[in-house]
């Protein structure tokens, strides 16, 4: 079996509304253990686990924790990034709706280890159910003394507040998210300083993805070194995969890193509907690369994904069968980013409009070789000259398709008569 249910072990087995059921199923046990450890020991376990951020970028979690821990400010914050807006991703929603306390437990342990005083969960506005569940769970945790003042009799105070997004994809970017919590339009800031130095309300802030935080209790339970034995050298542990598109069994699957994409699609996803052929697969979400069928033996691994120069690591796999046209898909992706660009950086604000115009030329078979060159150079300008992850990763689909689907481009240029 290629599935390995660790972070998702309680999915469907407990009532997410019941803190008692969570506690019965090993819940808050790891918090109790963590509170008896030295703070530095907890971070060391995360370091030994070599846990990398599950939101896409794959930044080592322990480095951020250490950075926050060494800050001496009186107020320090932890933000759980639940602004899961990347098309094709829904694993954080599964975590929030199936096992909300695991996320809270991970936040509380992280807060204890880093000396954070308050936590925020920033949930995208579309996820009303997740938000209600989290608010309910926070109240339950307070009643049991896992949140609030003197947690479990320790000199440790920590509270969590849920904040709602209002329909903005870019707010998943850490500084845009901070701006949004502060009540501003979600436009990013120039880094450095990084959030761990100067984040929310100007205070040191640790921002982690939902899945990253949900993995922390597991690391305490297993020990960092045991955790690191799962997966591959560059990518330890397990990953929640959001599988969607033209597969028979869509859904969220937890696998150890290192599983080939093909196995996820065929063994877990049950293959393609009506046994059609795969035309293309997009990895990570709208900001990820589009790869052809012959590349599906590549394994799911941060290092392997890095070659695409994109934040592919959130774990979405969107399968598209032979009925679909590359350029129709590209236009949808570009339009998405055109709408979601915050407008701060000119290459991103104006660039997506021009990318769309160029893609339309290919759809209408009116494109020339010059258009293909313009498309590539414009995509690279947006990638290089944008301040935040949105513009830096939005052209990935175009850039990867130019590499792997060159024949599709050339066909449009060479055969205008087919239109």
């Amino acid at each position: 079996m290629i599935e390995m249910k660790l972070v998702s072990k309680r999915f469907g087995k407990i009532n997410p509304l019941s803190i008692e059921e969570y506690i019965k199923f090993d819940g808050y046990k790891n918090l109790v253990n963590a509170l008896s450890m030295e703070k530095t020991e907890i971070i060391e376990e995360v370091q030994h686990a070599y846990l990398r951020g599950r939101g896409g970028a794959g930044f080592p979690a322990a480095i951020k924790m250490m950075a926050l821990a060494k800050e001496t400010s009186e107020d320090k914050y932890i933000i759980c990034n639940a602004d899961e807006g990347e098309p094709g991703n829904f694993k954080d929603r599964y975590l929030m709706e199936n096992d909300p306390h695991q996320i809270l437990e991970g936040m509380i342990i992280s807060a204890y280890a880093t000396g954070a005083t308050k936590g925020f969960i920033y949930v995208r506005g579309e996820y009303q159910k997740s938000m209600s569940l989290l608010k309910w769970s926070i109240d339950e945790a307070k009643k049991k003394g896992y949140l609030g003042k003197n947690i479990l009799g320790k000199k440790f105070n920590f509270d969590i507040e849920v904040r709602s997004g209002a329909g903005s994809y870019v707010c998943g970017e850490e500084f845009a998210l901070i701006e949004s919590i502060e009540g501003n339009p979600g436009r990013t800031r120039v880094k450095p300083p990084f959030p761990t130095t100067k984040g929310l309300y100007g205070k040191p802030t640790l921002i982690n993805n939902v899945e990253t935080l949900a993995t922390i209790p597991l690391i305490i339970e297993m020990g960092g070194k045991e955790f690191a034995k799962i997966g591959t050298p560059s990518s330890t542990g397990t990953k929640l995969i959001s599988l969607s598109g033209n597969v028979k069994n869509k859904g969220v699957y937890e696998i150890p890193f290192g599983v080939p994409i093909r196995d996820v699609i065929y063994k877990l996803g049950g293959g393609i509907e009506n046994d059609r052929k795969i035309k293309m697969v997009q990895l990570g979400g709208a900001c990820g690369p589009i790869i052809p069928e012959y590349m599906l033996d590549m394994i799911i691994d941060f290092e392997r994904f890095e070659e695409f120069d994109s934040k592919t690591g959130a774990g979405a796999i969107i399968v598209m069968d032979e009925r679909f046209d590359l350029f129709d898909i590209l236009l949808k992706i570009v339009r998405f980013f055109e709408h979601e660009s915050c407008g701060k950086c000119t290459p991103c604000r104006e660039g997506h409009i021009q990318l769309a115009n160029l893609v339309i030329k290919f759809i209408e078979r009116k494109a020339t070789v010059k258009d293909m060159v313009s498309l590539e150079s414009l995509a690279r300008v947006i990638h290089q000259a944008s301040l935040c992850g949105l513009g830096q990763t939005s052209p990935t689909a175009i850039i990867s398709s130019l590499k792997y689907f060159r024949d599709d481009y050339l066909d449009r240029i060479e055969h205008p008569e087919k239109a």
């Binding site: 807006g85 506005g125 209002a166 009540g183 979600g186 969607s244 898909i329």
Partner: protein
């Protein structure tokens, strides 16, 4: 609830702006924030009106124009697109007799696009007010809409 009453629930802090606007707009039958309300919120939080306006125009949830009682949002992203055998938008447009970004003459429905709703495993999907509907078929869409027309 009156805006004045709603504001009293919130601390006079700038970072409450989005939460206030979300809750208030949600409660209003026409789901928008008017010019007078912008002034009132800006006075309460002691922020310039321009700040309130910038937030309103930035986030897609907000509107400064009246909308229908029920806001229907159709996902337009790739996972829904490739998983659909039907054109959700066209079916709704035909059912309600309006186009995208329009409101029915009786002010009951406004039709909008939304970015991915995060339920791609159950595509195609749409959202009406706060509720997400998945696994849509032509018949299901018609049934949902009649329910809203008759009961809500």
């Amino acid at each position: 609830m009156l805006l004045k009453e709603l504001l009293q629930k919130y601390p006079k802090k700038e970072d409450q702006l989005i939460e206030i606007l979300l809750e208030y707009q949600n409660e209003k039958i026409d789901h928008y924030i008017s010019k007078e309300e912008i002034t009132e919120v800006s006075k309460y939080l002691d922020v310039p009106e321009s700040k309130v306006c910038s937030v309103l125009s930035f986030y897609t949830f907000f509107s400064d124009k009246p909308r229908g009682k029920h806001i229907i949002q159709v996902c337009k992203d790739v996972p829904c697109y490739v998983s659909s055998n039907i054109d959700v938008l066209k079916i709704i447009e035909k059912e309600l007799g309006i186009r995208i970004n329009e409101t029915t003459p009786n002010q009951q429905f406004t039709l909008e696009f939304t970015s991915c709703l995060g339920c791609c495993e159950a595509a195609p999907a749409m959202r009406i007010n706060d509720k997400i509907y998945t696994h849509l078929t032509a018949d299901k869409i018609k049934a949902i809409l009649s329910e809203y027309k008759v009961y809500m």
